[in-house]
């Protein structure tokens, strides 16, 4: 009897709660959860929120006659904060679409929420290829780049240029180990050899003992399997130790902001892979100019990706004539993506956005003619080459036979 009463009371409460949250139907709500204050804040961060707002404004501020609002939050690189915020927006604010900023761990947590709450989610900043493999969902898109594409670009270019033996300096967490694994595979596939690796705690201050191990290995290439400040600090230290004279450093993930803070004398000659560079064509230069006018620096590939992903989503909503998540996802997976970020991009069944990637080499100070003139294109990789075939690890996309 009591149980029935309890059930009744709960049902009543549930109905009340449902009534309380059924609002915001006259708006389309876009959320952006990113590291706004930590090590990745310059990669996307607050400027990323701004470009999302630009995309909304460029689209006209409304879609299907509904006003578009943008929410943003700082996940502080903690998966629990990111997932909790996402869940709250989905429950309370009628969130229609989410942009996930940097940090693979936080994005995996948010992907799980996307699967439960059915909110289309674009992973902009994280690299971990697992987001379109074992952690894929029907509502997630891995938009800008992943560890497989980075390794395919940079490692292939270096092995082909004669860097056959590799030693890795790996950030001791999921992203670092995934990146090292991807690069090792590429090196071996091209006839190179992996001589070893040393795992470095995240945010280490002193790289000397790790770098000496790398030097003692006698490898030709020092694979820097890390990101952000870890990347720039380890490269600086390698320069100071003179290791870069005997070993060729390879940046497995570097953003243009990292190169800027390192300076060309320290970074010159470095190979890296990027999805986007401001100085590629008139459209990218126009976006770069607009960004520079506002933030006094050039945008990273993540910021360009955030702009593009917002437009892509809004176009899909318009084409589908609805914000229904299933209809929008179906439309997204049909559409071709053509804008200043990429041309001929498409979203695969496993959620990976397949688009061209660029292998770049950092210019020498003599080659650099104007501010932020940092890269020369070594090779443009077609999407299929960069991202590789479907692995079959994602249940939504069986591997081709």
């Amino acid at each position: 009897m009591k149980l029935r009463m309890l059930t009744l009371a709960t049902t009543a409460a549930l109905a009340a709660a449902a009534g309380g949250t059924a609002r915001a139907a006259d708006e389309v709500v876009i959320g952006d959860i990113d590291d706004m204050s930590g090590v990745y804040a310059d990669v996307m961060g607050a400027a990323g929120v701004e470009v999302v707002k630009w995309a909304v404004a460029d689209f006209g501020g409304s879609v299907l006659g509904r006003k578009i609002t943008v929410l943003s939050a700082d996940h502080q690189n903690k998966p629990d904060i990111g997932a909790a915020k996402f869940r709250e927006w989905a429950d309370q604010n009628g969130l229609n679409m989410l942009l996930g900023g940097s940090n693979t761990g936080v994005n995996i947590a948010m992907a799980k929420v996307a699967a439960v709450k059915h909110v289309p989610t674009f992973h902009i900043g994280p690299g971990g290829a697992s987001l379109s493999n074992e952690d894929c969902t029907a509502y997630t898109v891995h938009y800008t780049y992943d560890t497989v594409a980075l390794a395919n670009g940079t490692a292939t270019a270096i092995v082909n240029a004669g860097g056959k033996t590799w030693f890795y300096l790996t950030a001791d967490y999921a992203f670092g180990t995934q990146l090292q694994a991807a690069a090792s595979k590429v090196v071996e596939a091209h006839g190179g050899k992996n001589l070893g690796a040393v795992r470095v705690p995240l945010g280490a201050a002193d790289f000397s003992s790790f770098l000496l191990q790398a030097q003692a290995s006698g490898a030709q290439v020092l694979g820097l399997s890390n990101a952000g400040t870890d990347f720039s600090n380890s490269l600086k230290a390698a320069n100071e130790f003179g290791i870069t004279k005997t070993m060729k450093p390879a940046a497995l993930l570097a953003f243009i902001t990292d190169i800027h803070s390192l300076g060309l004398p320290a970074a010159q000659g470095l190979y890296l892979t990027t999805a986007w560079y401001w100085d590629l064509n008139p459209e990218t230069r126009a976006f770069g100019k607009r960004f520079y006018a506002r933030f006094n620096r050039e945008p990273t590939m993540d910021q360009a990706g955030a702009y593009s992903a917002t437009l892509t989503y809004l176009k899909a909503v318009k084409a589908a004539g609805s914000t229904d998540p299933d209809k929008v996802m179906a439309q997204l997976k049909k559409a071709k993506i053509d804008d200043m970020f990429t041309s001929g991009g498409s979203i695969r069944a496993d959620g990976a956005m397949i688009h061209d990637m660029y292998v770049m080499q950092v210019k020498t100070p003599q080659e650099s003619k104007y501010p932020w003139d940092y890269y020369k294109v070594v090779k443009k990789m077609a999407g299929a080459e960069a991202f590789g075939p479907i692995t079959g690890l994602c249940p939504l996309a069986p591997a081709p036979k």
Partner: protein, 313 residues
């Protein structure tokens, strides 16, 4: 006394009516889990005067145990919570047995060192998911029939659990065991001279506190559906100390108030100022230590004591 009863009554009404008031139930559940964690910690610090710097180890270990059993072995939530609590209790026994041999700062350092050990196990062990943590922990059905997927149902379950723990701690403190514990806190040599085996009392208090902290961790794992390294991190141990001190150590309701203040600040300020939340909470803590050392509830209680009768000491 009557005032307290009225206050508790109002609070109970509020807690029951949360889903109707349109307050976000997941936030309330987070608050209750933190409050339970702080109450458990208060049992150790407030009534046993043992300052542990490593309580996140118990909170997080239980969360990982529950999350792993539910995800990898498809256990029901009830059984997984019990298992998580048992893990925390056993860990508490091991850590406590070592730590209670020393006092003061040495006690704190031992708990800190052992908690860091647990942290690195959670970072490196194959089943914890390393930096990514355990994600997508399903809530399942409690005892096979009560679906926890609904936030409101789970809220009432967590509320019931919290009330049970709160009353249990009151009962423990008012029991002969609790009185001896307080005696040890206030004058250890005298308690020894009276013939009490003080180490047994301390160990039991430590294990009880660890167990209840584990209960809070297990619930949190189900509420959010994930367990991450931040649950076992040193900063979580620091947070629980902060919540307890801010609310008032050695008061029953203090930790609850402290948890509410810290959780609310984190929730609402993080949107406005991002990472500065930590600095702001630090400033609040400094203000607390400088101007109201007994904590919020402690100061209120002291003020009432002053009006009625001379304070106990």
């Amino acid at each position: 006394m009557r005032l307290t009863a009225v206050a508790y009554g109002l609070l109970a009404l509020f807690a029951l009516g949360v889903p109707l008031l349109g307050i976000y139930p997941v936030f309330m559940m987070q608050l209750l889990c933190l409050a339970m964690f702080a109450c458990a910690y208060n049992l150790l610090l407030g009534f046993g005067r043992m300052l542990s710097f490593g309580h996140a180890a118990f909170f997080g270990a239980a969360a990982y145990a529950t999350g792993w059993l539910v995800t990898a072995h498809a256990w029901g939530p009830g059984a997984a919570i019990v298992a998580g609590v048992v893990v925390a209790g056993l860990l508490g026994l091991a850590v406590g047995a070592l730590a209670i041999r020393r006092q003061g700062i040495y006690f704190a350092m031992i708990t800190l060192a052992l908690a860091q050990l647990v942290y690195f196990v959670c970072l490196e062990a194959p089943f914890t998911g390393g930096e990514n943590g355990l994600q997508g922990v399903p809530r399942g059905k409690l005892l096979g029939f009560l679906p926890l997927k609904s936030d409101v149902v789970l809220y009432y379950v967590v509320l019931a659990a919290f009330v049970a723990v709160f009353l249990f701690i009151r009962r423990v403190v008012h029991s002969p065991f609790g009185q001896v514990l307080k005696a040890i806190r206030d004058n250890e040599p005298r308690a020894i001279s009276l013939g009490y085996e003080i180490n047994r009392y301390k160990l039991l208090a430590f294990v009880l506190s660890a167990t209840l902290a584990g209960f809070a961790g297990s619930l949190k794992a189900l509420v959010f559906g994930f367990v991450t390294l931040s649950d076992v991190q040193q900063s979580t141990s620091g947070e629980v100390i902060l919540m307890t001190l801010l609310g008032g150590t050695g008061t029953f309701f203090g930790p609850v108030v402290g948890a509410a203040v810290v959780a609310t600040l984190q929730q609402y300020l993080s949107d406005l100022v991002g990472g500065w939340v930590i600095a702001i909470i630090g400033v609040v803590f400094v203000a607390c230590v400088l101007s109201f050392r007994r904590g919020i509830v402690g100061e209120l209680a002291a003020a009432r004591w002053l009006r009625r009768a001379p304070p106990p000491r």
